[in-house]
Symmetry: C2
């Protein structure tokens, strides 16, 4: 392989860029911010990502999808997948104050991107729908097993969970307080039992 060796690897740039996007959102994150965070100058940056800022953002979003896929794998081998989902939602209450303010980057993106960039909005919506579908499938499964008594359709309950997820994304900014969130989460999760 010829050529000057790579210092700033793709994966690392994306990881660092994700942090910036998570804090500031897409529009407010400047190339200057990204270059400062990643260490890479404009040369390396555009050499690596011909698509510029938008491409890096999409890759940062996809990175989250991978994290979500990993969770889905965990679910598939779990004996009580619904409890795993509930525990994951419960874990939000214990997040740091800073993480409460940041919220979920995918849910944030759906809100930010309306009328701004429909590609990026569609990407984020798609991921949320995948998460919703995961919820729905697990609920359906548990209903068949008889672990859940509720007769409400799994589709409605799946949408109930993704709606709660997105609502919690704002509630935690209103009340970045573990106890408040904990009570709220328990009450809402109790609906599915």
């Amino acid at each position: 392989m010829r050529g000057r060796p790579t210092i700033y690897e793709d994966a690392n740039i994306i990881k660092k860029a994700q942090e910036v996007f998570w804090q500031k959102g897409y529009s407010a994150a400047s190339l200057s911010d990204l270059q400062k965070a990643t260490g890479a100058g404009a040369g390396s940056f555009y050499n690596t990502f011909k698509g510029g800022k938008k491409e890096v953002f999409q890759k940062a979003i996809q990175e989250r999808r991978l994290a979500f896929d990993a969770f889905k794998k965990e679910l598939s081998v779990s004996e009580s997948p619904l409890e795993l989902i509930k525990d994951f939602i419960r874990s939000i209450a214990q997040a740091e104050q800073n993480d409460h303010l940041k919220g979920c980057i995918i849910a944030n993106t759906v809100v930010e991107m309306t009328f701004i960039d429909e590609d990026l909005e569609a990407n984020a919506v798609q991921i949320l729908k995948e998460v919703e579908q995961m919820f729905t499938e697990v609920i359906k499964e548990e209903q068949t097993k008889g672990t859940i008594k509720t007769q409400t359709s799994p589709e409605i309950l799946g949408k109930y969970l993704i709606t709660f997820w997105c609502g919690l994304n704002t509630l935690r900014r209103m009340y970045p307080d573990e106890n408040v969130l904990k009570d709220q989460i328990e009450m809402q999760l109790a609906v599915i039992s």
Copy 2:
């Protein structure tokens, strides 16, 4: 009163500016956008609003608070205030596609403003908390009257509603479809009865 007569009245500028902010959010709405929408040039704009873009945004936000106050007044003379609240939430399902995408400007602002402008974020959070308190009070009242059977505390139920409100703000962008939203809303409202 001396001086050249005013063509572009404050109230009208705010109203037109609100539409722009609602569509694009704060950051993405440029002064150029605002001037185009309001008709007022930079001269009139900064003569009227010394605080510039930020001041106009704050006034546009306060405008929404007034609309909310009006609703609160309706509630106070209603015989079944909870039903009024429920109907208001139900009315979201029937909104136009465009309105689904725009969502609630206050909820949007909370998400957008994190780490961007803490004044504007605090304004929006404050309004959401006022709406939440309105929910809580009405629920408490109806519980005392015995109209509601649920024993869950009004504080939790109030937060449940504001969380749902914010969650719906994203769900309606995922599914700008009246029937989907209608079913979802009925299921979630049934929790409070």
